[in-house]
């Protein structure tokens, strides 16, 4: 237990002292402020030059526009910032061999992996919640047509769980391959492509990859509750499963 605590403290410290937490935060928080403001101002600017975006956006005064725009950016740029800031933890420490001395000193390999899974997916989860409620607050002030609080609650949970799921998957692939950069790029494109392909082949329900659909509003918000809860549950359940698999794979991995 003391090893796990030390690992969590070290990974947490690393996030702050290497300033990766700010990259992490930037991806989630920056768009939470920019997107609702942009979506509020843009139609007015366009209208001033004679272009009407109201039909395209389906009601310019709805808070949902700001929330949906944020979710889209967060799932793209926020995800990219998160994956990049996790590169050192997800295999980068194997590449530069900084894990060698602690592991030789007696640090259990499984614990070494579990501490990462405690820090990074939880940080992603936390920032997901913070980002979503920040955008909710900003857009609440700007738009007259309010978004239901109960739905925002569910969607913030969906964003947070999906980001934790993505962070766990990054750790699984990065730690077991030792190739952080390649893992980040592959995952980013995989998420982007899957988000486009799965709805087309009608695989956008009852799995973790259905969550972006709820967030960006391509599915009628959270009307399909069974699919929502199954998707959230599956994503949440897969995080510790990924941790177990990563620990198992790391156990016999060559480190030099």
């Amino acid at each position: 237990m003391s090893q796990l605590k030390a690992g969590i403290r070290k990974d947490g410290t690393e996030l702050f002292k290497t300033y990766r937490i700010y990259i992490f935060a930037l991806g989630f928080v920056l768009f939470a402020v920019l997107d609702p403001v942009m979506m509020y101002v843009l139609p007015k600017m366009m209208k001033a030059i004679g272009m009407d975006l109201s039909t395209m956006l389906g009601g310019m005064d709805a808070q949902a526009i700001g929330l949906s725009a944020y979710a889209g950016d967060c799932l793209q740029m926020g995800m990219l910032a998160m994956l990049l800031s996790m590169m050192k933890a997800a295999g980068g420490d194997q590449k530069d061999h900084s894990c060698v001395i602690p592991l030789c000193a007696g640090y259990r390999r499984s614990t070494y992996i579990y501490s990462k899974f405690c820090v990074y997916p939880l940080t992603a989860f936390g920032f997901g919640i913070i980002g979503y409620w920040l955008v909710y607050g900003v857009s609440y002030l700007l738009y007259p047509v309010k978004f239901p609080l109960s739905q925002a609650l569910l969607l913030s949970l969906a964003l947070a769980v999906f980001m934790a799921f993505a962070a766990s998957l990054m750790l699984l692939i990065g730690c077991s391959t030792g190739r952080a950069g390649v893992s980040a790029v592959i995952l980013f494109f995989a998420f982007t492509i899957l988000n486009m392909i799965l709805p087309l082949i009608r695989c956008d329900r009852f799995n973790p990859f259905a969550l972006p659909g709820f967030l960006t509003g391509t599915m009628e918000q959270v009307e399909n509750l069974p699919s929502f809860w199954v998707s959230v549950g599956a994503a949440a359940l897969l995080c510790p499963v990924f941790a177990l698999i990563a620990a198992r794979l790391f156990q016999r991995k060559k480190l030099v």
Partner: protein
Amino acid sequence: MIEIHNLTKNYDRRPVLRGLNMEVKKGEVYGLIGRNGAGKSTTMNILCGLLSRDGGTVTVNGKDPARGERVPVGYLPESPALYEYMNCYEYLSYIAAAAGYSGDVKKRIAEVVELVGLTDAAGRKIRGYSRGMKQRVGMAAALYSGQDLIVLDEPTSALDPQGRAEIMSIILTLRQMGKTVLLSTHILSDVERVADRVGFLHNGVITAESGMSSLLETYADPIISFSVEGEAPGLEDSLRALPLCDKTARNGNDYFVWYNGDKIEASQALFQFLAQKELPVTRYQLHRATLEQVYLKIIGQAAPAAASPVTPVGKEG
């Protein structure tokens, strides 16, 4: 403490270790000597459980690292990668927790930091340390948890003479403390100063293994070394033809002659020979061979063509 039998390891079908056998006893400083690429680091990585082996058996304190029975080892890699955002105290505290150290952590850190001579700099971030200081932090981490086995992979290869001397004095302190140290290096004067026993690793096997003193007695025949000014074409061949000469080696304008018989007679004969050749001799020395010369002799016997700048040439061919 360490027992290795018939250890084999290939990298992409290229054999690096070809049936390595060696044994390191508890409480001794063992110097593993070999050229770059000889397999020293590979051996150490297998010992520490960082690398899998292809064949043979390896036990550390009776446990096999490949079976997950990892024995905690104080390991200093050639270029220790540290968490550079931490200071020395923070790093060692982390290693303490990683190693499950149960004693007084602060006291132990102070002891180890003093041992490696970093007390003044320990509060600064590792990022700002010189290479030698990072090496000492790595050394402190290897020593911290009080493991009985310390594995040091080329600990002095990138250090200046002062840094090397400091690391060597730490190793001597470890020997006094009764620690078992496995030290790999290609700086042979370092090994000569600290090792109890040495093993020459060449072409994936130990070609010679012995206690330091008996090794020097066995292999380090007395030699004459001398230097000449300018080029002396054919001198080496002529030296080899001398009846007093057993073996020669050359490094630029420096010549080494392993002789037989009485040292005075051999010295006089050689001096006479050089005088006849009218060669301007700038240095002439009669002494026992150093470990470096022993190494060159042994490796030269094992593979004459591969023995780098100095090419030992024996009469026996």
